[in-house]
Amino acid sequence: MSTPPVPGWYKDAVFYQLHVKTFCDSDNDGVGDFRGLTTKLDYLRDLGVDCLWLLPTFPSPFRDDGYDIADYYAIHPGYGTLEDFRAFLDAAHARGLKVITELVTNHTSDRHPWFQEARSSRDNPRRDWYVWSDTDDKYDGVRIIFLDTEPSNWAWDPVSKQYYWHRFFSHQPDLNYDNPAVREEMWNVMKYWLDMGVDGFRVDAVPYLIEREGTSCENLPETHDVLKFLRGKLDEHFDNKVLLAEANQWPEDVRPYFGDGDEFHMAFHFPLMPRMFMALRLEDRKPIVEILERTPVIPDACQWGIFLRNHDELTLEMVTAEERDYMYDEYARDPVARLNLGIRRRLAPLLDGDRRRIELMNGLLMSLPGSPIIHYGDEIGMGDNIYLGDRNGVRTPMQWNGGWNAGFSGADPERLAFAMISNAVYGYQAVNVAAQERTEHSLLNWMRRLIRVRKSSRVFSRGSLQFLSPKNHRVLAYIRALDGEQVLVVNNLAGSVQAVELDLKALQGLVPIEMFGHSVFPRIGEWPYLLTLGPYHFYWFRLRRV
């Protein structure tokens, strides 16, 4: 059953990010695939999410877990065939689930035929599809993103005897978007998948498309020309698709990526995410309030994507040095957990497996402005393995049950793409979907309920945000409002019981009704409204005139 498209559906959607490689393996080769994923669509529908975001599934040498693409027009054989993908897409749509895939625009694998051709000779027609230089001092001073592995943004090509530009791994040469042919081809890639039925793309690494001497080579004006071109093509040919930008920048620097509603529909709010963790540890709302008050207004048709964790390290690029040191000291005392100015841990281990804190953080995720994005496995509190190398520790196989390979695959455990988490705390015997489906008060069932309550009101997805400023700085309180509907959200960021007096004079006469249990609270009067909250507890109150 397909539902008619809803304009701006992405503003109301709850997104779920997953890695096909580690979600479900149907042919027991140790690697997840589309057929396996298709068998789990009911689970995802029942979770309550609306849109699946798939990590790259293109043919790739997998030196960057698929973000090094060798063919934009195919599916990696390990994940299945194009037919498998189409079948998955149809099945997802039949369940009301949308699907967005990755679009890695900035670079390809050095194994991609385009690069193989480009490097074969300086006269090759594809030469200008990449960025070349005789020396490695061009664009001097541009920051290196993968600090732990790359000493330079230039790599020497022994074949054509020139340097090529790469903002990420050296095996991922940057495409040259000053070349119109590159732009056209990237549109062709998009159209190919859109014609097949995908609902949009998460566009990787957008700030880095263009290079200019004497600049940071990030967020340049010409980049927006490229993006407007692609968006223009998209709007010309399709309706109700979404482009989600990965631009790890300060909010005011992300704002241009929305354009005037003619670039990206959505963009991740990267700076908010570490500040949620900071606020929790500090027991102080300041980091969250400051970054959101600094966040600019975006066009009406646009939306922020907010998240707690994803497939990458918990990035600490968009924080001050003081904040970074604090986060490392508080959340990554083991230096092995640190990678590339970030922390490669999952949500539950970051929060010491504390159910109350996990709930609070998810409550914030679901009630702050933006469309929430859940990283697969966080809904059951999966753990991680920081010793797996790169960021693979947060991409381990989904834990479906306590049996063979957690129900992920029938293969020999040694054959799995990444090893299962098997310790006594987060191991699949202890943390898995089947066990939590049997337990009424499991985290999984709680998450289902949380998503249901969030979706019961569009105030969370589209409403305004007004912070309250109670004297108790350990309480983060705000009002979300839309078309006359108002919801009061109160969060205790502290591990101790807190009392808070809220100035709700402007809402005098309204009755707060708690949204999970529907308990009626005393009517708001002229005096400060006193609430007490247990450790890490939160309230969502629908404010009604009774």
Binding site: M278, L282, D284, R285, K286, P287, E290, T320, E322, E323, Y326, P470, K471, N472, H473, R474, A494, Q498, A499
Partner: protein, 421 residues
């Protein structure tokens, strides 16, 4: 009759809002608009530089200033948070102001600070002097004594020019050394740091302490010296007292200091009567100020001018207070016209006898303190004349000699202590 609560409602509400702190920095003020802003700015700089991750609050207890002191403090604090281009720090900062009328002296205001610190569960409390400007590093050093060295009381040590602070060096310090057997350089604690544990003790004990005892900060030092509390001293360099502020007269100040010291020693005698000798206190000492010495503020000879007349006028009173040998020595010292000698043993005996007389309440206690003033002035005059041109090191040695003298009289103090009035 129950004493009214130390914490007024508005302060209590602010404390509830702040919750817990790791470091509370307290400041009592009364008509301090010219200095309090600089103190608040120094506190803020200390926090940002030395303790950026700590939960910190500045608490200003004001006695009802008419010159806008609380607003000056608040503005200086807020300006620090809003400096353009400067990161504002990880945490919400707190500047709590409470106006408690009638609190115009530091001792009473400090009671409020310590009680607030107790409610805030502050691990470390630093109490500053609004009349002096302590650098951010100095504030941090005081706090570090508690946080890093585990001290319950961190007392300052100043680099004093020769002849400075005679009330402390000639009277308070040697008395405290002899009584408590600890060499505390600044027992009056112009500024100090204490642990939450000591603050809790002081908050409870202060309910029973009498008003005379609470006139200065000595009662806090006495609490620490009497109980199982760890003491630490911290060198802060020269004391930077702001000039131009109205000061108490010597008579008022003397009465306040001597009254609080005598009352404190009396109240805690159970703790020190059995002690003998003296031990140094851990921490850094300032060392003598070997720089060029400024002229002492007072002329020693002028202080001695009325020595003979004062002794003659007070003879009958002194006969009640002093032992016969002490009185005889005093009469002999004052008999020589223009005499400039007041030897250490005589002064030490005088202090010892006055202390025991205070304990035994041989007369009204305020009169006892008043009677000591002219003798103190004579001793100060003699000391200044004897050490005119001396180096600070020589003066420090002289202070040490006086302290040792009074230590040797401890048995005399103990014996006279038990005598009936």
């Amino acid at each position: 009759m129950a004493e009214p609560s130390l914490i007024p409602d508005d302060l209590l509400r602010q404390i509830i809002g702040v919750g817990q702190v790791d470091l509370l920095i307290g400041l009592t003020t009364y008509q301090h608009a010219t200095t309090a802003g600089d103190v608040a700015a120094a506190v803020r700089a200390c926090w940002r530089t030395h303790f950026p991750r700590l939960r910190t609050a500045l608490l200003n207890v004001d006695g009802g200033s008419s010159d806008g002191t609380p607003l000056v403090v608040q503005h200086a604090w807020d300006d620090g948070t809003r400096t353009a281009g400067v990161p504002s720090g990880l945490r919400t900062t707190h500047c709590i102001t409470s106006v408690v009328p009638e609190i115009t002296d530091p001792g009473r205001g400090t009671r409020v600070l310590l009680a607030a610190g107790d409610l805030l569960q502050a691990g470390t409390i630093v109490v500053l002097d609004a009349d002096a400007l302590l650098a951010p590093g100095g504030i941090a050093a005081l706090a570090a004594g508690v946080r890093d060295h585990g001290a319950d009381l961190v007392a300052p040590v100043y680099t004093r020019p020769a002849g400075d602070g005679l009330l402390v060096t000639q009277l308070v310090r040697p008395l405290v050394r002899a009584a408590f057997a600890r060499r505390l350089q600044e027992p009056l604690l112009p500024e100090f740091a204490c642990s939450g544990r000591l603050a809790a003790q002081c908050t409870q004990a202060a309910w029973t302490a009498n008003a005379a005892e609470r006139g200065t900060h000595f009662w806090i030092a006495a609490q620490a010296l009497s109980g199982a509390f760890a003491l630490h001293q911290c060198a802060l360099g020269p004391r930077n007292v702001v000039a131009g502020r109205a000061r108490q007269s010597l008579q008022e100040l003397f009465g306040l200091v001597v009254g609080s010291v005598f009352a404190g020693l009396d109240a805690h005698s159970d703790a020190w009567l059995g002690r003998s000798g003296s031990e140094p206190i851990a921490g850094s000492t300032a060392g003598p100020d070997e720089g060029p010495q400024a002229e002492p503020p007072s002329d020693g000879s002028r202080l001695l001018q009325s020595f003979a007349q004062d002794v003659a006028n007070l003879t009958e009173i002194l006969r009640t207070i002093l032992g016969p040998d002490t009185l005889a020595g005093l009469l002999a010292a004052s008999a020589e016209p223009g005499s400039a000698e007041f030897p250490d043993p005589l002064w030490a005996a005088t202090l010892a006898d006055f202390l025991t007389a205070y304990h035994r309440a041989v007369m009204r206690r305020t009169h006892i303190a008043q009677a000591l003033l002219p003798l103190y002035m004579a001793r100060s005059g003699a000391f200044l004349l004897a050490h005119r041109g001396s180096t600070a090191g020589a003066v420090e040695e002289a202070d040490e000699t006086l302290g040792a003298c009074l230590e040797e009289l401890k048995p005399r103090i103990v014996e006279r202590w038990a005598q009936p009035a």
